[in-house]
Amino acid sequence: MDLSYGEDHTLLSESIARFIQNDYDFETRSRIAASDLGFDPTVWQQFADLGWLAIPFSEDEGGLGADPVSVMILMEQFGRGLVLEPYVPSILLGGRLIASMGGAEQRSRYLGDLIEGKIQLAFGHGEPGGRYALAHVATRAEGGAGGFTLSGHKAVVHNAEAADFIIVSARGSGEVRAQDGISLFVVPRETPGLTVRPYRTVDGFRAAELVLKGAQVGEDALLGEEGGAYPAIEAVTDRAVAAVCSEAVGVMDLLRETTLEYLKTRQQFGRPLGAFQVLQHRAVDMLIACEEARSLALMATLSLDKSAPERRRAVSAAKAHMGNSGRKVGQEAVQLHGGMGVTDELKVGHYFKRLTMIDTFFGDAAHHLDRFAGDA
């Protein structure tokens, strides 16, 4: 066993950290959040040029063939910088779905452009009333001459407005929560019958509601076999969940460090807050939560290529723990900053909000606890 970084990993980590430090400070981030698009296309192009968009793809797929640890490293740094660019929806969800489900023609059609930063993707899957049940798909796909007709409602689809293509899950057969019968389609955003209702999210990202009313796509829009998409959806979302756990580790670490710094500098009653033992213990509890979250994010990452049951357990363990430790670290960071913690002006509140919303990403703590226990 060796849980230390290789040389490549260290270099990658340093280069992303440098980027955050030099080109993505909090003010830049706030400016980007306030922009119309909600992310910065030149930053995205920079990611492409640096090869970061290629990391999760094999050489066959036109990528770098890097291991999951590289994604972990990248996402942790993105968490520290609270990066808004749509790496998760576009690359880890959209891109990985095409890579794992698509035929050779589809892969070459989309992945090259994606990795070069020329197109954006999104994944429209969750639905109103579905909560976090991954197989909950009520959206219908009716096969007909030369293609499919899609009808349904997709909820809180990140990056949908900016996406050139949205991967939409829809059902040709089976009950609403059956694993069988779900297919994936690559739907151009401009498809007639697809309405995108965009909005900001509370943590500064962009998402949208998708309404499909008889949206027509060709046969070549279908990814993989009709009705057989569920296992790939689960595998891809598990990878994305592991990655987002690493993002959370970055967010939590930054909150912990910022809070520690505050405890050392903020003076009340003639001494730094950190001189009060009750606050020292709270800072230690934050550290423990961060260390454990990091341990489980690593464990999940290293389990991604194992058997499906092992992967599921590992990912759900990390996500369930992250939901709870993230809530704790976020709330404590705010509390220990006193009034400053609830201001829009300070970083802390923004990191807290991101951490809070990460809990809703493909299953909250309660959902993953159930899944870990084998109940979901």
């Binding site: 909560r131 209702r197 509601e209 913690g341 609830v342 201001t343 002006e345 809703t360």
Partner: protein, 456 residues
């Protein structure tokens, strides 16, 4: 056997007998006559056939007078609370200054705006129990709260320590709602360590010249006056000794108010800057350099209602409605065992809070000195409030994500994103982190209990 039934539960959470509980055996009855037990409003009613006949037992029945009072309050609220204000409170929409002001005026006209004041200053003369019932009914009816800074904070300081000119000038306008107040205690360097405040007031003939900065000043942007703790003697032996309590007109020249935006995007707090603000010496309350005593009096005055049980009941009922509307695997989330247990634990915490408050109330009614229960009620009250917002957040799932501030304004007519109740859930969760920070943070409250109760 004695049967106790909590009627206080009849509104908000569930039917009256929901909390029904039976204590059996004389042992229990003996325990219950200890001096610290609940004994509210004097009703004594052992069940017929009880083995311990003749004992004085406590009970939690309302007297018929209290019930009549409650009905009167309920009827008044039903007819007098403007429906548009009620709707805004009910749906967690933004309230404007005018909403607070018009409800204040309605209560003023009814004579109910300042239940805690002495009758000769315009109070109601209600018992503690009546005030409790009034607060609870108001919350249940979705009435907005009365802004506390005038009625609950500076008013009592003025009628206790102010001179007759101050009483005549300020009290009627606080009651009528003509004057709005804000509280200028905290400063950038003086939060928990309030006695460290630096805002300086120097005597110059018949004025004080005030320089400095207050921060976190809630609704300063709506206020006509600010009551401030200012430093009048920087050389006092103890920081607490050089502080005075000053009333300042917000229209004085040299005052600047700058908004502080909170993490939910809202504007309720402000920075207030003072530059050579000239304040007549007649605006000094009580004696110079005795302000700390008045300030602490104020902090301890408003103990009734500090736990905000009524509002938490209302919020809990809202949470239950959300849980019933949300689906989990095709069934209402409220039927999901794990989520039900979370709500149940929260409801038990709220009951514990409620009965802790009632015990405190009963001690006050029987004339005992209030202890530090206010600190405990503040700690647990805010924890319960925050837990409610946390569970609502969990209940709405991914629909916590959309940020649609327009949806929090009344009159927004577009189709909601996700369920209608979802829009306010995440902002409320973020915003309510403040509750464990303001009014003396929960850490400071625990410090006070450790020092004063446990004598550590």
């Amino acid at each position: 056997m004695y049967r106790t039934r909590g009627e206080f539960a009849a509104d908000g959470i569930g039917p009256g007998n929901r909390y029904g509980m039976t204590a059996s055996g004389c042992g229990v009855a003996t325990l219950l006559v200890r001096p610290d037990c609940i004994y509210i409003s004097g009703a004594v009613r052992p069940d017929s056939g009880a083995a311990c006949e003749g004992r004085v037992v406590m009970n939690i029945e309302l007297t018929s007078a209290d019930r009549a009072f409650r009905d009167e309050v309920r009827a008044f609220l039903a007819t007098s609370l403007p429906p548009d204000i009620k709707r805004r409170v009910e749906n967690g929409l933004e309230l404007g200054r005018e909403d607070y002001a018009s409800w204040h005026r309605i209560l003023y006209e009814k004579g109910w705006v300042a239940p805690g004041w002495p009758v000769d200053h315009g109070g109601t003369g209600w018992t503690h129990m009546q005030r409790y019932l009034y607060d609870e009914e108001s919350a249940a009816a979705s009435a907005p709260r009365i802004m506390p800074f005038g009625v609950n904070m500076v008013g009592p300081v003025i009628f206790t320590f102010g001179n007759s000119a101050q009483k005549a000038r300020y009290l009627p306008r606080i009651l009528s709602g003509e004057d709005w107040w804000c509280q200028g205690y905290s400063e950038p360097g003086a939060g928990s360590d309030l006695a460290n405040l630096r805002t300086r007031a120097e005597r110059d003939g018949d004025v004080y010249v005030v320089n400095g900065q207050k921060t976190w000043t809630t609704s300063a942007h709506w206020a006509d006056h600010i009551f401030c703790l200012v430093r009048t003697d920087p050389d006092a032996a103890k920081p607490q000794q050089g502080i005075s309590f000053l009333l300042i007109d917000m229209r004085s020249s040299g005052i600047e108010v700058k908004p502080i935006i909170t993490i939910d995007g809202g504007h309720e707090v402000n920075d207030v800057f003072f530059e050579d603000v000239r304040v007549p010496v007649e605006n000094l309350v009580g004696e110079e350099n005795r302000g700390w005593t008045y300030a602490k009096f104020l902090l301890s005055f408003e103990r009734a209602g500090i736990a905000d049980v009524g509002r938490s009941k209302k919020q809990l009922a809202g949470l239950k409605r959300i849980a019933a509307a949300e689906l989990s695997n095709g069934r209402p989330l409220s039927e999901d065992d794990r989520f039900r247990e979370k709500i149940a634990s929260l409801e038990i915490d709220l009951l514990a809070l409620e009965y802790t408050e009632l015990r405190a109330l009963s001690r006050q009614t029987s004339g005992e000195e209030p202890g530090t229960e206010a600190n405990i009620l503040k700690i647990r009250g805010t924890e319960v409030q925050q837990r409610i917002t946390e569970l609502a957040l969990e209940a709405v799932g991914t629909y916590a994500n959309p940020y649609v501030p327009e949806a929090l304004k009344d009159g927004w007519n577009e189709e909601p994103i996700g369920p209608e109740y979802a829009a306010s859930v995440a902002p409320r969760y973020f915003n309510w982190r403040k509750a464990s920070i303001y009014g003396g943070s929960n850490e400071i409250q625990k410090g006070i209990v450790a020092k004063l109760v446990l004598e550590l």
